[in-house]
Point group: C2
Chain length 131, copies 2
Amino acid sequence: MYFASNALARKLEKLAIESWKCTDLSPSHAYLLMLVVEIPGIQPTGLSEHLRLTPSTITRLVEKLEKKKLLVRTTEGKLTNVYPSPKGKELYPSLVQCAKEFQALYASILGKEESNRLARNMTRIVDKLDV
Amino acid sequence: MYFASNALARKLEKLAIESWKCTDLSPSHAYLLMLVVEIPGIQPTGLSEHLRLTPSTITRLVEKLEKKKLLVRTTEGKLTNVYPSPKGKELYPSLVQCAKEFQALYASILGKEESNRLARNMTRIVDKLDV
DNA sequence: TGATCATATTTGTATATACAAATAAATATC
DNA sequence: GATATTTATTTGTATATACAAATATGATCA
């Protein structure tokens, strides 16, 4: 189980990296940016919950995207809001396209139904393990 | 799918680290050492296949276990054989015990049948993706 | 038999992520 | 209203793993 889940994660990671290569973003960066375009002003905590990554990881991802001028941070008090830049918004359709291609890629290998089932199962199990 | 599989892998990783804590080894080191005890003289390539990790990662894991005097490497020509040390053999029962506890832990959360099914599914899918 | 090709392993370096501590602001309590 | 507690975010550092290049040995073939 241990190695199976690790191996699967790494395999999908590799496929995903390939899918997003043309945008010059890693899958995590790409998904984060998509979220920011969809929910402008979202806060790190929100991103953390959506992406199931820790806040510190979110900070690091956001920093990199900010350096690339794809989003901006504004701080009010202890809260930070993350907004897409024009450049980030411009990139959005390509990101969605890549996401679709990535989905199509593994669906073509596993079958549409089976991939959906697997994804549902994994999500459910992560939640169960989230004690 | 992408985040689900990553999240699952990380969650299991955390559970596993907890399970092996008492042996002072990470799950990967522990599984590798178990394999070496079970198949004395196994080569890095063999370990790599069993554990689904790259050869370079195997080298790193073996180095660390060698430093801890839990195994030894002997080189003949281009091949390297990995053997358990007495200390490594001694540790084996504890490792098996930890593996059992780890399995019991996730089985108690997911149910025995469901965890088996999931593990089988993931392995099958990794193989399918292994083009 | 010598040149080339293939295989096994290791080394240098990079990526993704996390944990724990630090910081800073908001809220509660007295 | 001052102090303590909680919450949000960032920073310093560590871990697990991989890729690509280097090395070294063995095999093939002309």
